[in-house]
């Protein structure tokens, strides 16, 4: 399953809510304001690092660039929309709005 999280973890609990339901073969995509969770050195970094132990975590490039998010947690992969589509080809999707 591909889980998408589009809200900032500083404002909305969707990332933590999603984390409870992640299974080991799942994938997490951070997009829109969700990319703020990809930053290193925040109060949510530990959560994301723990998720990286179990699942692949992607962040959408266009959203990272728009927000000048540059210092990413090691292990997070950036992807473009083509990569987003590729993830959808491989997995059914649940959007955590």
């Amino acid at each position: 399953m591909l889980h998408t999280v589009n809200k900032s973890p500083f404002q909305n609990t969707s990332l933590a809510d999603c984390a409870r339901l992640l299974r080991d073969d799942d994938v997490l995509l951070l997009l829109e304001d969700g990319v703020f969770a990809a930053q290193t050195g925040t109060q949510h970094t530990a959560l994301v690092e723990s998720l990286l132990q179990r699942v692949k975590v992607y962040a959408l490039q266009a959203d990272l660039k728009a927000r000048a998010v540059t210092r990413l947690i090691p292990g997070i992969e950036t992807t473009d929309y083509a990569g987003f589509v590729e993830l959808v080809e491989k997995h059914r999707v649940h959007s955590w709005l």
Binding site: M1, T13, D17, R20, L21, L22, R23, R92, V93, H94, S95, W96, L97
Partner: protein
């Protein structure tokens, strides 16, 4: 050969009334129930608040819809689940849950089935498509 019936899951994660998502989401479920689909509905996170019995929107002046959940089983939507953890952290117990229909045999009122995150995740993995509200 008959086409297999697709499993469609609805997740409800937002609270009722503060926004229209839960109400309009319910409308989708009722329409979809008339089609050939294996529908399940999972209430989690703030969505569990939509299942609180005793909601009364009269003074607010908006159209309430909680009563419609009472007809879910009449609409053949039997697979209705609520996340245990979401309820617990929100101070809700099973006693707070509204009724979604009647058991066909015993005629006892039926409330949504309380399940855990792992069960929800396992169900999600079996779905054809998932609509989130």
């Amino acid at each position: 050969m008959a086409e297999e019936i697709k499993k469609i899951m609805f997740t409800v994660r937002k609270a009722p009334h503060g926004s229209i998502y839960v109400y309009e989401g319910l409308e989708v479920k009722l329409i979809m129930a008339a089609y050939d689909a294996d529908i399940s509905v999972v209430f989690l996170d703030d969505g569990v608040f939509a299942l609180k019995k005793g909601q009364d929107t009269k003074e607010l002046g908006i159209k309430g819809f909680a009563a419609t959940y009472g007809a879910l089983m009449d609409y053949e939507i039997q697979k209705v689940y609520v996340d245990r953890h979401s309820m617990e952290v929100r101070g809700m117990t099973e006693e707070d849950l509204l009724v979604i229909g009647e058991d066909e045999e015993t005629e006892e009122p039926v409330t949504p089935q309380v399940i855990d995150a792992q069960e929800i995740a396992a169900m999600m993995a079996e779905q054809h498509n998932i609509l989130s509200f």
